[in-house]
């Protein structure tokens, strides 16, 4: 008799559990280009849910994680303030140089203006300029050339009014080729600086 009662009550308890208040909500947002990334949500009991769709969600109630579905409306309502406080996202630029030189190619001289404008629109900024070379000439020479390229861009940015303390430079020589080549090869796409603006 007691067991029967328990059997009758059990679904009720489960139903109550499902109605219990939400302890945590996780929502994956769409990427600007379409699609989304993915997250895995694991509760302390070892259950886990993979969320890999735009507005796909996971909720924790009574310590247990379960898949859920969110929406643009719910996200705006619950996370509107957090999203409004989101900083301007970091950006990445690549500028190319003439052979054996810290002079930009004509196309990259144009592109430089975009880099400058992107930095200027940020209330505060941190900029990293990493110089690179192709594999022509010696490793030591290229190490110095790559740093000269990075320094040249920093000097230009500072000349145009940006804060030198917020711009870090480094030279990687021929260590990180954009286009893999054997040693001793002229390759315009490897003669570059990589600029991160955040």
């Amino acid at each position: 008799m007691r067991r029967l009662l328990l059997l009758a009550v059990l679904p009720l308890i489960t139903a109550l559990g499902a109605c219990s208040s939400r302890q945590a909500l996780f929502v994956v947002l769409p990427n600007p280009g379409g699609g989304s990334g993915a997250v895995t949500v694991s509760d302390n009991g070892g259950q886990s849910v993979v969320v890999d769709q735009p507005y796909g969600a996971a909720e924790v109630r009574s310590g247990q994680v379960a898949a859920a579905i969110s929406s643009q409306d719910q996200v705006q309502k619950v996370f509107g303030s957090a999203l409004a406080a989101q900083p301007i996202l970091p950006t990445h630029f690549r500028l190319y140089f003439e052979s054996d030189s810290e002079v930009l190619t004509p196309a990259s001289a144009q592109e430089y203006k975009k880099v400058f404008d992107d930095i200027k629109r940020r209330p505060v900024y941190q900029v990293e300029v990493i110089g690179h070379t192709d594999t022509f000439a010696s490793k030591d020479y290229n190490q110095q050339l790559s740093l000269k390229r990075a320094d040249a861009i920093k000097e230009r940015l500072v000349h145009d009014g940006l804060d030198p303390k917020s711009i870090a430079v480094a030279g990687r020589g021929e260590l990180d080729l954009a286009v893999p080549t054997p040693n001793g090869v002229h390759e315009p796409r490897n003669r570059r600086v990589e600029i991160t603006v955040r």
Partner: protein, 158 residues
């Protein structure tokens, strides 16, 4: 003459070391390198560092072990050195438990402890280079990040 030169060099070395120590100490008693920068602030937002509560300002550095807190009307946005972007809404608390990042090979790890409130994140190089290396913990769950944009709400323990 020679020994005077050596003594002078030693003294210069000690002074240089002292200058470096002062530089480090000027960073408001934080250990380790800067891991993020405050980019946006509105309303009441503080950085808790070794027990001290510092009103957050745009441009402030953020360090490992700092805790970010916002009040009723507060919001704050940070960008990390691996290009992860994090912003919280009001009544939020998130502790930056662990962060390391090597910009030469993009390896690193990040663990944030989300205690209450809301957070929006866009993952960066740590999550991209090492799946599972970026994690957010809540009192009831652990989030492993494969990328890229996601939000979390944690109900405060009431």
């Amino acid at each position: 003459m020679h020994s005077i030169a050596i003594a002078w060099r030693r003294a210069a070395g000690v002074m240089l070391a002292a200058a470096v120590m002062m530089l480090v100490n000027s960073h408001a008693w934080a250990d380790g390198p800067q891991i993020a920068q405050v980019k946006t602030v509105s309303g009441d937002a503080v950085i808790v560092r070794n027990g001290a509560r510092l009103a957050a300002k745009v441009g402030d550095p953020v360090f490992e072990k700092d805790t970010i807190e916002t009040g009723d009307d507060g919001a704050i946005g940070l960008t990390f050195t691996d290009n992860t972007v994090m912003s919280t809404g009001p009544d939020s608390e998130i502790a930056l438990e662990q962060y390391r990042f090597d910009s030469s090979n993009f390896n690193g790890a990040m663990l944030a402890d989300m205690r209450k409130g809301t957070v929006a994140m866009v993952s960066g190089d740590i999550a991209r280079s090492t799946p599972g290396a970026m994690r957010v913990r809540t009192n009831t769950a652990m989030l492993g990040v494969r990328g890229t944009r996601f939000v979390i709400q944690v109900e405060g323990s009431r």
